[in-house]
Amino acid sequence: MTESHATEPILKVENLVVSYGRVEAVRGVSFQAASGSLITLVGANGAGKSSIINAVSGIVRPKAGTITFEGRDITKTSAHALVGEGLVQVPEGRQILGTLTIHENLQLGGWHTNDTAAIREVYERFPVLAERRDLPAGALSGGEQQMLAIGRALVARPRLILLDEPSMGLAPKIVDEVFRVIEEIRASGTTVVLIEQNARRALRAADHGYVLASGEIAHEGPAADLLADERVVQAYLGV
Protein backbone atom coordinates (compact mmCIF):
# COMPACT_ATOMS: atom_id res chain seq x y z
CA MET A 1 0.00 0.00 0.00
CA THR A 2 2.83 2.38 -0.78
CA GLU A 3 0.58 4.66 -2.85
CA SER A 4 -1.86 5.18 0.02
CA HIS A 5 0.41 7.84 1.45
CA ALA A 6 0.46 9.78 -1.77
CA THR A 7 -3.30 10.28 -2.13
CA GLU A 8 -5.71 11.90 0.27
CA PRO A 9 -7.67 9.18 2.16
CA ILE A 10 -11.31 8.82 1.13
CA LEU A 11 -12.28 8.50 4.79
CA LYS A 12 -10.55 10.09 7.74
CA VAL A 13 -11.77 9.78 11.31
CA GLU A 14 -10.06 11.84 14.00
CA ASN A 15 -10.45 11.56 17.78
CA LEU A 16 -13.95 10.15 17.51
CA VAL A 17 -15.91 9.96 20.75
CA VAL A 18 -19.33 8.28 20.88
CA SER A 19 -21.30 8.03 24.08
CA TYR A 20 -24.74 6.82 25.05
CA GLY A 21 -25.74 8.76 28.13
CA ARG A 22 -22.89 8.14 30.53
CA VAL A 23 -21.52 5.09 28.70
CA GLU A 24 -18.57 6.08 26.55
CA ALA A 25 -18.51 3.47 23.80
CA VAL A 26 -15.79 5.04 21.62
CA ARG A 27 -13.03 6.99 23.29
CA GLY A 28 -10.95 9.03 20.91
CA VAL A 29 -10.52 6.75 17.91
CA SER A 30 -8.64 7.83 14.79
CA PHE A 31 -8.27 5.86 11.57
CA GLN A 32 -8.36 6.33 7.85
CA ALA A 33 -9.01 4.47 4.64
CA ALA A 34 -7.09 5.08 1.44
CA SER A 35 -9.22 5.29 -1.67
CA GLY A 36 -9.77 1.82 -3.10
CA SER A 37 -8.41 0.01 -0.07
CA LEU A 38 -9.98 -2.55 2.25
CA ILE A 39 -9.48 -1.79 5.91
CA THR A 40 -10.80 -3.72 8.84
CA LEU A 41 -11.73 -2.87 12.41
CA VAL A 42 -11.66 -5.93 14.62
CA GLY A 43 -12.43 -6.39 18.29
CA ALA A 44 -14.49 -8.28 20.82
CA ASN A 45 -18.16 -7.78 21.64
CA GLY A 46 -18.81 -4.29 22.91
CA ALA A 47 -15.46 -2.93 21.74
CA GLY A 48 -17.27 -0.09 19.96
CA LYS A 49 -17.13 -1.30 16.35
CA SER A 50 -20.77 -0.70 15.45
CA SER A 51 -20.73 2.64 17.25
CA ILE A 52 -17.88 3.78 15.01
CA ILE A 53 -19.65 2.68 11.83
CA ASN A 54 -22.89 4.30 12.95
CA ALA A 55 -21.12 7.55 13.67
CA VAL A 56 -19.43 7.53 10.26
CA SER A 57 -22.71 6.84 8.45
CA GLY A 58 -24.64 9.49 10.39
CA ILE A 59 -26.88 7.14 12.38
CA VAL A 60 -25.51 8.32 15.73
CA ARG A 61 -24.17 11.80 16.46
CA PRO A 62 -20.60 11.70 17.77
CA LYS A 63 -19.89 13.55 20.99
CA ALA A 64 -16.54 14.74 19.69
CA GLY A 65 -14.15 14.30 16.79
CA THR A 66 -14.28 14.91 13.07
CA ILE A 67 -15.13 12.66 10.16
CA THR A 68 -13.98 13.59 6.67
CA PHE A 69 -15.25 11.89 3.51
CA GLU A 70 -13.64 12.73 0.17
CA GLY A 71 -12.13 15.84 1.73
CA ARG A 72 -15.38 17.20 3.17
CA ASP A 73 -16.34 17.37 6.83
CA ILE A 74 -19.36 15.08 7.25
CA THR A 75 -19.40 14.95 11.04
CA LYS A 76 -22.85 16.53 11.17
CA THR A 77 -24.24 15.30 7.86
CA SER A 78 -27.46 13.30 8.13
CA ALA A 79 -27.59 9.61 7.30
CA HIS A 80 -29.90 10.01 4.33
CA ALA A 81 -27.71 12.68 2.77
CA LEU A 82 -24.61 10.48 3.13
CA VAL A 83 -26.22 7.60 1.26
CA GLY A 84 -26.97 10.03 -1.55
CA GLU A 85 -23.31 11.00 -1.56
CA GLY A 86 -22.03 7.43 -1.88
CA LEU A 87 -21.30 6.43 1.72
CA VAL A 88 -23.39 3.38 2.49
CA GLN A 89 -23.57 1.02 5.44
CA VAL A 90 -24.52 -2.66 5.48
CA PRO A 91 -25.77 -2.84 9.04
CA GLU A 92 -25.15 -5.42 11.71
CA GLY A 93 -27.79 -8.16 11.66
CA ARG A 94 -28.56 -7.34 7.99
CA GLN A 95 -31.74 -5.35 8.80
CA ILE A 96 -33.64 -6.81 5.88
CA LEU A 97 -37.19 -5.52 5.55
CA GLY A 98 -38.83 -8.92 5.85
CA THR A 99 -42.41 -7.90 4.98
CA LEU A 100 -41.31 -6.17 1.78
CA THR A 101 -40.34 -8.15 -1.29
CA ILE A 102 -36.76 -8.72 -2.31
CA HIS A 103 -37.27 -6.37 -5.23
CA GLU A 104 -38.69 -3.68 -2.97
CA ASN A 105 -35.70 -4.02 -0.66
CA LEU A 106 -33.42 -3.39 -3.63
CA GLN A 107 -35.55 -0.48 -4.81
CA LEU A 108 -35.16 1.06 -1.36
CA GLY A 109 -31.40 0.74 -1.75
CA GLY A 110 -31.82 3.09 -4.69
CA TRP A 111 -33.99 5.59 -2.81
CA HIS A 112 -31.83 8.48 -4.00
CA THR A 113 -30.76 7.21 -7.38
CA ASN A 114 -33.76 5.35 -8.86
CA ASP A 115 -31.09 3.38 -10.70
CA THR A 116 -32.79 0.38 -12.32
CA ALA A 117 -29.56 -0.64 -14.07
CA ALA A 118 -27.91 -0.99 -10.66
CA ILE A 119 -30.69 -3.34 -9.54
CA ARG A 120 -30.17 -5.41 -12.69
CA GLU A 121 -26.46 -5.68 -11.92
CA VAL A 122 -27.24 -6.90 -8.40
CA TYR A 123 -29.53 -9.57 -9.87
CA GLU A 124 -26.71 -10.64 -12.17
CA ARG A 125 -24.31 -10.86 -9.27
CA PHE A 126 -26.81 -12.74 -7.07
CA PRO A 127 -29.06 -14.87 -9.32
CA VAL A 128 -30.76 -16.40 -6.27
CA LEU A 129 -32.24 -12.97 -5.54
CA ALA A 130 -33.48 -12.57 -9.11
CA GLU A 131 -35.31 -15.89 -8.97
CA ARG A 132 -37.27 -14.83 -5.90
CA ARG A 133 -37.63 -11.13 -6.48
CA ASP A 134 -41.33 -11.00 -5.64
CA LEU A 135 -41.15 -13.05 -2.46
CA PRO A 136 -41.09 -11.40 0.97
CA ALA A 137 -37.45 -10.92 1.92
CA GLY A 138 -38.14 -12.58 5.26
CA ALA A 139 -38.44 -15.88 3.42
CA LEU A 140 -34.73 -15.90 2.52
CA SER A 141 -32.15 -17.89 4.46
CA GLY A 142 -29.59 -16.06 6.58
CA GLY A 143 -26.92 -16.25 3.90
CA GLU A 144 -29.30 -15.07 1.20
CA GLN A 145 -30.42 -12.22 3.42
CA GLN A 146 -26.80 -11.16 3.80
CA MET A 147 -26.44 -11.16 0.01
CA LEU A 148 -29.59 -9.05 -0.19
CA ALA A 149 -28.24 -6.64 2.42
CA ILE A 150 -25.00 -6.25 0.46
CA GLY A 151 -26.85 -6.07 -2.87
CA ARG A 152 -29.19 -3.44 -1.48
CA ALA A 153 -26.22 -1.30 -0.49
CA LEU A 154 -24.61 -1.75 -3.92
CA VAL A 155 -27.75 -0.39 -5.63
CA ALA A 156 -26.75 3.03 -4.28
CA ARG A 157 -23.40 2.67 -6.15
CA PRO A 158 -21.33 3.52 -3.07
CA ARG A 159 -17.78 4.82 -3.26
CA LEU A 160 -17.33 3.80 0.37
CA ILE A 161 -19.10 0.77 1.82
CA LEU A 162 -19.08 -0.06 5.53
CA LEU A 163 -19.88 -3.67 6.39
CA ASP A 164 -20.78 -4.50 9.99
CA GLU A 165 -20.04 -8.17 10.75
CA PRO A 166 -21.31 -9.57 7.45
CA SER A 167 -20.28 -13.12 8.37
CA MET A 168 -22.13 -13.18 11.66
CA GLY A 169 -24.13 -16.34 12.19
CA LEU A 170 -23.36 -17.87 8.79
CA ALA A 171 -22.09 -21.34 7.92
CA PRO A 172 -18.41 -21.54 6.89
CA LYS A 173 -19.23 -22.10 3.23
CA ILE A 174 -21.47 -19.03 3.17
CA VAL A 175 -18.80 -17.03 4.96
CA ASP A 176 -16.42 -17.92 2.12
CA GLU A 177 -18.94 -16.60 -0.35
CA VAL A 178 -19.45 -13.37 1.61
CA PHE A 179 -15.70 -12.77 1.62
CA ARG A 180 -15.49 -13.50 -2.11
CA VAL A 181 -18.16 -10.85 -2.71
CA ILE A 182 -16.32 -8.37 -0.51
CA GLU A 183 -13.12 -8.93 -2.52
CA GLU A 184 -15.09 -8.35 -5.72
CA ILE A 185 -16.53 -5.11 -4.42
CA ARG A 186 -13.08 -3.92 -3.53
CA ALA A 187 -11.73 -5.02 -6.91
CA SER A 188 -14.38 -2.89 -8.61
CA GLY A 189 -12.80 0.18 -7.01
CA THR A 190 -15.10 0.71 -4.04
CA THR A 191 -13.37 1.41 -0.74
CA VAL A 192 -14.36 -1.08 1.95
CA VAL A 193 -14.43 -0.70 5.73
CA LEU A 194 -15.01 -4.15 7.18
CA ILE A 195 -15.95 -4.84 10.76
CA GLU A 196 -15.53 -8.35 12.04
CA GLN A 197 -15.23 -10.48 15.10
CA ASN A 198 -13.80 -13.12 12.80
CA ALA A 199 -10.55 -11.16 13.04
CA ARG A 200 -8.15 -13.54 11.35
CA ARG A 201 -10.34 -13.89 8.34
CA ALA A 202 -10.87 -10.14 8.08
CA LEU A 203 -7.17 -9.36 8.44
CA ARG A 204 -6.30 -11.86 5.72
CA ALA A 205 -8.61 -9.98 3.35
CA ALA A 206 -7.62 -6.47 4.42
CA ASP A 207 -4.80 -4.11 3.52
CA HIS A 208 -4.76 -2.35 6.84
CA GLY A 209 -6.17 -3.29 10.22
CA TYR A 210 -7.15 -1.69 13.49
CA VAL A 211 -7.64 -3.69 16.67
CA LEU A 212 -10.20 -2.14 19.01
CA ALA A 213 -10.46 -2.79 22.71
CA SER A 214 -12.83 -0.96 25.06
CA GLY A 215 -13.47 1.87 22.67
CA GLU A 216 -9.82 2.56 21.90
CA ILE A 217 -7.42 1.45 19.23
CA ALA A 218 -5.00 -1.00 20.81
CA HIS A 219 -3.01 -1.87 17.70
CA GLU A 220 -2.90 -0.84 14.10
CA GLY A 221 -0.82 -1.58 11.06
CA PRO A 222 -0.70 -3.36 7.75
CA ALA A 223 -2.99 -6.35 8.11
CA ALA A 224 -0.21 -8.85 7.43
CA ASP A 225 1.94 -7.34 10.20
CA LEU A 226 -0.91 -7.60 12.72
CA LEU A 227 -1.43 -11.23 11.81
CA ALA A 228 2.26 -11.88 12.33
CA ASP A 229 2.44 -10.03 15.63
CA GLU A 230 2.46 -12.59 18.45
CA ARG A 231 1.23 -10.08 21.05
CA VAL A 232 -1.77 -9.12 18.93
CA VAL A 233 -2.62 -12.69 18.08
CA GLN A 234 -2.44 -13.85 21.68
CA ALA A 235 -4.24 -10.91 23.26
CA TYR A 236 -6.96 -10.20 20.71
CA LEU A 237 -7.32 -12.81 18.05
CA GLY A 238 -7.71 -15.83 20.29
CA VAL A 239 -5.86 -19.03 19.73
Partner: protein, 291 residues
Protein backbone atom coordinates in the same frame (compact mmCIF):
# COMPACT_ATOMS: atom_id res chain seq x y z
CA UNK B 1 -82.54 -1.12 0.44
CA UNK B 2 -82.78 2.49 1.52
CA UNK B 3 -81.14 1.52 4.81
CA UNK B 4 -78.40 -0.42 3.10
CA UNK B 5 -77.53 2.62 0.98
CA UNK B 6 -77.71 5.04 3.88
CA UNK B 7 -75.45 2.74 5.83
CA UNK B 8 -72.96 2.69 2.97
CA UNK B 9 -72.89 6.50 2.72
CA UNK B 10 -72.26 7.01 6.42
CA UNK B 11 -69.95 4.02 6.55
CA UNK B 12 -67.78 5.32 3.72
CA UNK B 13 -67.21 8.51 5.72
CA UNK B 14 -66.30 6.48 8.81
CA UNK B 15 -63.95 4.45 6.67
CA UNK B 16 -62.28 7.54 5.20
CA UNK B 17 -61.85 8.98 8.67
CA UNK B 18 -60.50 5.70 10.05
CA UNK B 19 -58.12 5.07 7.17
CA UNK B 20 -56.29 8.30 7.95
CA UNK B 21 -56.12 7.27 11.59
CA UNK B 22 -54.79 3.85 10.77
CA UNK B 23 -52.25 5.14 8.25
CA UNK B 24 -50.35 7.02 10.93
CA UNK B 25 -50.81 4.15 13.33
CA UNK B 26 -49.66 1.47 10.92
CA UNK B 27 -46.69 3.35 9.51
CA UNK B 28 -45.50 5.33 12.45
CA UNK B 29 -46.90 3.31 15.32
CA UNK B 30 -48.38 6.50 16.75
CA UNK B 31 -51.96 7.22 17.69
CA UNK B 32 -52.72 10.76 16.54
CA UNK B 33 -55.61 11.91 18.70
CA UNK B 34 -55.68 15.29 16.97
CA UNK B 35 -57.18 13.50 13.97
CA UNK B 36 -60.79 14.02 15.20
CA UNK B 37 -60.10 17.75 15.62
CA UNK B 38 -58.97 17.94 11.98
CA UNK B 39 -62.28 16.28 11.09
CA UNK B 40 -64.19 19.02 12.95
CA UNK B 41 -62.07 21.97 11.79
CA UNK B 42 -62.42 21.00 8.16
CA UNK B 43 -66.20 20.79 8.44
CA UNK B 44 -66.30 24.41 9.63
CA UNK B 45 -63.78 25.44 7.00
CA UNK B 46 -65.94 23.79 4.33
CA UNK B 47 -69.03 25.70 5.43
CA UNK B 48 -67.07 28.95 5.63
CA UNK B 49 -65.79 28.48 2.09
CA UNK B 50 -69.32 28.04 0.76
CA UNK B 51 -70.86 30.76 2.86
CA UNK B 52 -68.25 33.50 2.72
CA UNK B 53 -66.27 32.77 -0.44
CA UNK B 54 -69.39 31.60 -2.28
CA UNK B 55 -67.72 28.46 -3.61
CA UNK B 56 -69.71 25.46 -4.72
CA UNK B 57 -69.41 22.50 -2.35
CA UNK B 58 -67.34 20.60 -4.96
CA UNK B 59 -64.61 23.23 -5.04
CA UNK B 60 -64.38 23.26 -1.27
CA UNK B 61 -63.20 19.65 -1.18
CA UNK B 62 -59.75 20.11 -2.76
CA UNK B 63 -59.21 23.18 -0.57
CA UNK B 64 -60.24 21.26 2.53
CA UNK B 65 -57.85 18.49 1.45
CA UNK B 66 -54.96 20.98 1.35
CA UNK B 67 -55.96 22.61 4.64
CA UNK B 68 -56.05 19.15 6.22
CA UNK B 69 -52.58 18.41 4.87
CA UNK B 70 -51.24 21.61 6.42
CA UNK B 71 -52.88 20.75 9.74
CA UNK B 72 -51.21 17.33 9.55
CA UNK B 73 -47.83 18.99 9.13
CA UNK B 74 -48.52 21.23 12.12
CA UNK B 75 -49.58 18.22 14.20
CA UNK B 76 -46.42 16.32 13.32
CA UNK B 77 -44.11 19.27 13.97
CA UNK B 78 -45.77 20.41 17.19
CA UNK B 79 -47.17 17.30 18.84
CA UNK B 80 -44.93 14.47 17.66
CA UNK B 81 -41.51 15.45 16.32
CA UNK B 82 -40.23 17.23 19.44
CA UNK B 83 -41.01 14.13 21.49
CA UNK B 84 -39.81 11.44 19.13
CA UNK B 85 -36.61 10.57 20.96
CA UNK B 86 -38.21 10.19 24.35
CA UNK B 87 -38.40 6.64 25.64
CA UNK B 88 -42.12 7.22 26.28
CA UNK B 89 -42.72 8.76 22.85
CA UNK B 90 -45.93 6.78 22.32
CA UNK B 91 -47.59 8.04 25.43
CA UNK B 92 -46.17 11.54 25.15
CA UNK B 93 -47.43 11.85 21.56
CA UNK B 94 -50.86 10.62 22.60
CA UNK B 95 -51.13 13.31 25.26
CA UNK B 96 -49.64 16.14 23.22
CA UNK B 97 -51.94 15.35 20.30
CA UNK B 98 -54.96 15.48 22.64
CA UNK B 99 -53.72 18.84 23.83
CA UNK B 100 -53.31 20.13 20.30
CA UNK B 101 -56.80 18.87 19.46
CA UNK B 102 -58.12 20.88 22.39
CA UNK B 103 -56.42 23.98 21.02
CA UNK B 104 -57.90 23.46 17.54
CA UNK B 105 -61.39 23.12 19.01
CA UNK B 106 -60.85 26.19 21.21
CA UNK B 107 -59.95 28.19 18.09
CA UNK B 108 -63.12 26.97 16.39
CA UNK B 109 -65.18 28.02 19.36
CA UNK B 110 -63.55 31.43 19.42
CA UNK B 111 -64.24 31.94 15.74
CA UNK B 112 -67.72 30.41 15.41
CA UNK B 113 -69.19 30.20 18.90
CA UNK B 114 -70.82 27.09 20.33
CA UNK B 115 -73.75 26.79 17.92
CA UNK B 116 -74.35 24.26 15.19
CA UNK B 117 -73.49 25.62 11.76
CA UNK B 118 -75.08 24.68 8.47
CA UNK B 119 -74.43 25.16 4.79
CA UNK B 120 -76.41 27.98 3.10
CA UNK B 121 -79.85 26.88 1.91
CA UNK B 122 -79.18 26.20 -1.77
CA UNK B 123 -75.70 24.65 -1.48
CA UNK B 124 -76.63 21.12 -2.43
CA UNK B 125 -77.59 19.87 -5.87
CA UNK B 126 -81.20 18.75 -6.01
CA UNK B 127 -80.58 15.82 -8.35
CA UNK B 128 -81.82 12.50 -7.02
CA UNK B 129 -81.71 8.98 -8.41
CA UNK B 130 -83.80 5.94 -7.78
CA UNK B 131 -81.67 2.87 -7.12
CA UNK B 132 -83.59 -0.40 -6.64
CA UNK B 133 -86.55 1.61 -5.47
CA UNK B 134 -84.55 3.69 -3.00
CA UNK B 135 -84.08 7.47 -3.18
CA UNK B 136 -80.46 8.58 -3.43
CA UNK B 137 -79.19 12.14 -3.79
CA UNK B 138 -76.34 13.15 -6.03
CA UNK B 139 -74.53 14.33 -2.91
CA UNK B 140 -74.75 10.86 -1.35
CA UNK B 141 -73.42 9.22 -4.48
CA UNK B 142 -70.60 11.75 -4.56
CA UNK B 143 -69.75 11.02 -0.92
CA UNK B 144 -69.46 7.33 -1.62
CA UNK B 145 -67.49 7.79 -4.84
CA UNK B 146 -65.07 10.34 -3.38
CA UNK B 147 -64.43 8.32 -0.22
CA UNK B 148 -63.83 5.09 -2.07
CA UNK B 149 -61.68 6.79 -4.72
CA UNK B 150 -59.49 8.40 -2.06
CA UNK B 151 -59.10 5.11 -0.22
CA UNK B 152 -58.20 3.23 -3.38
CA UNK B 153 -55.69 5.95 -4.27
CA UNK B 154 -54.13 5.70 -0.83
CA UNK B 155 -53.92 1.92 -1.00
CA UNK B 156 -52.19 2.12 -4.39
CA UNK B 157 -49.85 4.81 -3.13
CA UNK B 158 -48.79 2.67 -0.19
CA UNK B 159 -48.49 -0.52 -2.24
CA UNK B 160 -46.84 0.75 -5.41
CA UNK B 161 -45.12 4.12 -5.09
CA UNK B 162 -41.66 5.05 -3.88
CA UNK B 163 -43.21 7.05 -1.05
CA UNK B 164 -45.34 4.04 -0.08
CA UNK B 165 -42.26 1.80 -0.01
CA UNK B 166 -40.57 4.31 2.24
CA UNK B 167 -43.60 4.33 4.53
CA UNK B 168 -43.64 0.56 4.76
CA UNK B 169 -39.90 0.47 5.41
CA UNK B 170 -40.30 2.93 8.28
CA UNK B 171 -43.26 0.96 9.61
CA UNK B 172 -41.21 -2.21 9.77
CA UNK B 173 -37.85 -0.86 10.89
CA UNK B 174 -37.14 2.87 11.22
CA UNK B 175 -33.43 2.36 11.81
CA UNK B 176 -33.07 0.24 8.69
CA UNK B 177 -34.95 2.93 6.80
CA UNK B 178 -32.41 5.53 7.92
CA UNK B 179 -29.51 3.28 7.01
CA UNK B 180 -30.98 2.92 3.51
CA UNK B 181 -30.92 6.67 3.06
CA UNK B 182 -34.62 7.40 3.49
CA UNK B 183 -35.28 10.84 4.92
CA UNK B 184 -37.39 9.49 7.74
CA UNK B 185 -38.47 12.91 9.02
CA UNK B 186 -39.71 13.95 5.60
CA UNK B 187 -41.61 10.72 4.96
CA UNK B 188 -43.10 10.92 8.46
CA UNK B 189 -44.31 14.45 7.85
CA UNK B 190 -45.79 13.49 4.48
CA UNK B 191 -47.60 10.58 6.10
CA UNK B 192 -49.17 12.90 8.65
CA UNK B 193 -50.14 15.33 5.88
CA UNK B 194 -51.86 12.63 3.83
CA UNK B 195 -53.56 11.17 6.89
CA UNK B 196 -54.95 14.54 7.96
CA UNK B 197 -55.95 15.50 4.41
CA UNK B 198 -58.13 12.38 4.27
CA UNK B 199 -59.56 13.07 7.73
CA UNK B 200 -60.35 16.61 6.61
CA UNK B 201 -62.23 15.51 3.52
CA UNK B 202 -64.13 13.02 5.70
CA UNK B 203 -65.10 15.90 8.01
CA UNK B 204 -66.34 18.09 5.17
CA UNK B 205 -68.29 15.20 3.61
CA UNK B 206 -69.80 14.35 6.98
CA UNK B 207 -70.96 17.94 7.44
CA UNK B 208 -72.52 17.88 3.98
CA UNK B 209 -74.20 14.54 4.61
CA UNK B 210 -76.01 15.75 7.73
CA UNK B 211 -75.89 19.45 6.80
CA UNK B 212 -74.44 20.50 10.10
CA UNK B 213 -71.15 20.99 11.87
CA UNK B 214 -70.68 21.01 15.60
CA UNK B 215 -67.72 21.54 17.88
CA UNK B 216 -68.22 18.04 19.28
CA UNK B 217 -68.41 16.21 15.97
CA UNK B 218 -64.78 15.10 16.20
CA UNK B 219 -65.26 13.62 19.64
CA UNK B 220 -68.37 11.83 18.42
CA UNK B 221 -66.52 10.08 15.61
CA UNK B 222 -63.25 9.51 17.49
CA UNK B 223 -64.39 6.37 19.27
CA UNK B 224 -65.96 5.04 16.08
CA UNK B 225 -62.71 5.57 14.22
CA UNK B 226 -60.73 3.78 16.92
CA UNK B 227 -63.23 0.93 16.97
CA UNK B 228 -63.01 0.63 13.20
CA UNK B 229 -59.24 0.39 13.14
CA UNK B 230 -59.21 -2.17 15.93
CA UNK B 231 -61.86 -4.28 14.26
CA UNK B 232 -60.26 -3.90 10.84
CA UNK B 233 -56.86 -4.85 12.22
CA UNK B 234 -54.50 -2.18 13.51
CA UNK B 235 -52.67 -0.52 10.67
CA UNK B 236 -54.59 -2.35 7.94
CA UNK B 237 -55.97 -0.09 5.21
CA UNK B 238 -58.48 -2.58 3.76
CA UNK B 239 -59.47 -3.36 7.34
CA UNK B 240 -60.35 0.28 7.96
CA UNK B 241 -62.42 0.37 4.78
CA UNK B 242 -64.41 -2.77 5.57
CA UNK B 243 -64.68 -1.89 9.25
CA UNK B 244 -66.01 1.59 8.48
CA UNK B 245 -68.65 0.29 6.10
CA UNK B 246 -69.68 -2.40 8.60
CA UNK B 247 -70.08 0.14 11.36
CA UNK B 248 -72.15 2.44 9.15
CA UNK B 249 -74.44 -0.43 8.14
CA UNK B 250 -74.80 -1.74 11.68
CA UNK B 251 -75.80 1.70 12.94
CA UNK B 252 -78.40 2.29 10.28
CA UNK B 253 -79.97 -1.14 10.76
CA UNK B 254 -80.04 -0.76 14.51
CA UNK B 255 -81.80 2.59 14.25
CA UNK B 256 -84.31 1.33 11.73
CA UNK B 257 -85.15 -2.00 13.32
CA UNK B 258 -84.63 -1.58 17.05
CA UNK B 259 -84.69 2.12 17.80
CA UNK B 260 -82.23 4.98 17.70
CA UNK B 261 -81.22 4.67 21.34
CA UNK B 262 -79.85 1.21 20.51
CA UNK B 263 -77.54 2.48 17.79
CA UNK B 264 -74.28 2.44 19.74
CA UNK B 265 -75.28 -0.64 21.70
CA UNK B 266 -75.78 -2.71 18.58
CA UNK B 267 -72.92 -1.24 16.57
CA UNK B 268 -70.28 -1.59 19.26
CA UNK B 269 -71.74 -4.91 20.39
CA UNK B 270 -71.19 -6.23 16.90
CA UNK B 271 -67.62 -5.01 16.96
CA UNK B 272 -66.97 -6.83 20.24
CA UNK B 273 -68.42 -9.94 18.70
CA UNK B 274 -66.05 -9.70 15.74
CA UNK B 275 -63.11 -9.26 18.08
CA UNK B 276 -64.15 -12.32 20.08
CA UNK B 277 -63.99 -14.40 16.91
CA UNK B 278 -60.93 -12.69 15.43
CA UNK B 279 -58.94 -10.94 18.16
CA UNK B 280 -56.41 -9.72 15.60
CA UNK B 281 -59.15 -7.89 13.66
CA UNK B 282 -60.57 -8.66 10.24
CA UNK B 283 -57.37 -7.98 8.32
CA UNK B 284 -54.85 -7.96 11.14
CA UNK B 285 -51.76 -10.12 11.07
CA UNK B 286 -52.42 -13.33 12.97
CA UNK B 287 -49.38 -12.77 15.09
CA UNK B 288 -49.73 -10.52 18.09
CA UNK B 289 -47.07 -7.81 18.10
CA UNK B 290 -44.26 -8.59 20.47
CA UNK B 291 -43.50 -5.92 23.00
Amino acid sequence: MQQLLNGLFTGSIYALFAIGFTLVFGVLDRLNLAHPAVFAVSAFVGIELVEVAGLSIWYTLPIVFVVGGLLGIIIERVAFRPLKNRPDAHFAGLISSIALAGMFIALLQWRYGPNTRRFPADSFPSTTFTVFGAQVTLLQVAILVISVALMVALTLLVAKSRLGRGMRAIAENPTAARVLGINVDRVTMTTFAISSALGAVAGALFAMNVNSAQLGMGTAIELKGLAVIIVGGMGSLPGALVGGLLLGLAEVFAVANIGSSWRDMVAFGLLFLILLVRPQGLFGARKVREV
